[in-house]
């Protein structure tokens, strides 16, 4: 039975993610304790904030072993959103140099060297162009979806084949990543109106 768990590790806006899953009819709960991960079928790591704080909170509150058991050992559907995508990297460089979860080999870097007309943060609605036909856009997207982005950093994977959708902002960067059961999006599906809710539906359809 589908049951979505959202990890509460003190990094912002769980309400919006919860409301979005509830809006598409999913059974969803915010998880306060790592032990509760065992009770869900789909796990979501949301997050707004800085990379270092995110890793510190995940680690101090004891989430990492249970997350690894769920996503790496049992290979159940996992979705990282925004900071939750970035934390999957090996290394983050926001306000310092931090080790990430390392599930997706790669680094999180700041937008740099862009044309001066392109401002940072990258804020607003932009496309996610599916990278292949098995992408998370496989259902419900006759044309590329437009999603809400708000970020200064992005994940650059060592292996570009894990990129699931591309976004253009001066450079081409990973709007979304999928590596088997591990999905992640840089944009905010919970704030991207109908396109965002469709990605969440596609996530629920994954098993």
């Amino acid at each position: 039975m589908t049951r979505v768990g959202i990890i509460d590790y003190g990094m912002g806006n769980l309400t919006s993610v919860h409301n979005a899953f509830a809006a598409i009819g999913a059974a969803v709960e915010v998880l306060q304790q790592p032990e509760l991960i065992a009770s869900v079928s789909h796990l979501v790591l949301p997050g707004v904030g800085a990379f270092g704080d995110g890793m510190k909170n995940l680690s101090e509150r004891g989430w990492i072993p249970a997350m690894e058991q769920f996503a790496l050992a049992q290979k159940k559907p996992f979705l990282g959103i925004c900071l939750g995508q970035q934390l999957l990297a090996r290394r983050g460089t926001e306000h310092g140099d931090f080790a990430g979860l390392g599930w997706i080999p790669g680094e999180v870097v700041r937008f740099s060297g862009l044309d001066p007309s392109l401002r940072v943060p990258h804020i607003g609605w932009n496309d996610a162009i599916p990278a292949h036909r098995h992408s998370m856009y496989r259902e419900g997207f006759d044309q590329p979806g437009v999603f809400y982005f708000v970020h200064s950093y992005h994940l650059v994977p060592d292996d570009p084949s894990v990129v699931d959708g591309w976004c253009e902002y001066g450079i081409r960067f990973a709007a979304s990543i999928s590596a088997g059961n591990i999905w992640a999006v840089q944009y905010h599906p919970e704030k991207s109106q109908t396109a965002g809710l469709q990605v969440l539906r596609n996530f629920l359809a994954a098993d």
Binding site: G12, N13, L14, T15, S16, N19, A20, A23, V48, G49, A50, D53, L83, E94, H95, P116, L118, R119, V120, P121, H122, I123, G124, W125, N126, D127, V146, Y148, V150, H151, S152, E168, Y169, H188, E190, K191, S192, Q193, T194, G196, L197
Partner: protein, 262 residues
């Protein structure tokens, strides 16, 4: 390709929505929740909600507005988040990281600072460290004096701390602001169009996005702000007094050659 945003601003005072003129006259226009539901159905790009209630003011709601007991702005935010699947910036009376956390945990994506940032610019940095720069919007209220000199005002247009708008914009950016919301007190509620010189001066000085506000009277005004250098066009009053404000506004922007989400 990134679209330019068109953003409605809702102004909240003592638990009710108001329209504003010259930062002085605030006319009650209704319920703080219905408008959000309407904007969500319209699929708008983003929403900015500013609570202008002054410290110590009591609740002036009248029974005939049929609002729930929402004297507490955080309760209003809870209700707003339930129907809001679009980005939401929340501002007003935010003076600490704890104030920010209370709003972000209830569904706000961004925090808008004004007086708090001028009094303690460090607050921008502290917020950016915890929530990221992208969540820190610094709102700058500017009055243009009769001699053409521009000055930043705080406390809802009542206090002048002696700052030049461009210098303060650069300082806010340096302290970690991710975005600026630029308002003109002189143009507020006048419908005379944006202060394009002000927008150009600030937008060309900083590298972060600038949201232009104040003075929109016609849908054609939006594109002018973008061409003057703003990343997004915002307005308050026009959203309450014209029909199909989002679609018509977007169409006017597209006609002027601005890339928007339609």
């Amino acid at each position: 390709m990134l679209r330019h945003r068109l953003i409605p601003i809702l102004l909240l005072k003592n638990g009710l929505l108001v329209r504003s003129e010259l930062f002085e006259i605030h006319q009650i226009i209704g319920n703080p929740l219905y408008e959000v539901q309407r904007f969500n159905e319209w699929n708008v790009d983003e929403l900015i909600y500013l609570d202008m209630t002054r410290e110590g003011d009591y609740d002036l709601r009248r029974d005939d507005h049929k609002t729930k007991g929402l004297a507490d702005p955080l309760q209003i935010l809870d209700e707003v988040s339930r129907t809001c699947f679009m980005p939401l910036a929340w501002g007003g009376r935010i003076r600490s990281v704890e104030d920010m956390r209370a709003r972000i945990s209830r569904g706000a994506d961004k925090i808008t600072l004004n007086t708090g940032a001028v009094e303690h610019p460090r607050l921008i940095t502290d917020g950016a460290t915890v929530f990221g720069s992208q969540a820190m919007v610094v709102s700058i209220d500017v009055r243009t004096h009769a001699d053409g000199r521009r000055e930043v005002f705080t406390h809802g247009g009542r206090t002048a701390p002696g700052l030049d708008p461009v210098a303060w914009a650069l300082e806010a950016e340096r302290h970690g602001a991710g975005e600026l919301l630029l308002q003109s007190i002189n143009r507020d509620g006048t419908g005379e169009g944006y202060d394009l010189d002000l927008i150009g001066a600030v937008a060309h000085a900083v590298k972060i996005p600038v949201i232009a506000c104040s003075g929109v009277g016609r849908f054609e005004d939006y594109a002018k702000a973008i061409k003057a250098g703003a990343s997004a066009a915002a307005a308050a009053n026009i959203w309450h007094f014209k029909e199909l404000t989002d679609r018509q506004g977007k169409r006017a922007m597209a006609r002027a050659g601005i890339h928007v989400r339609q």
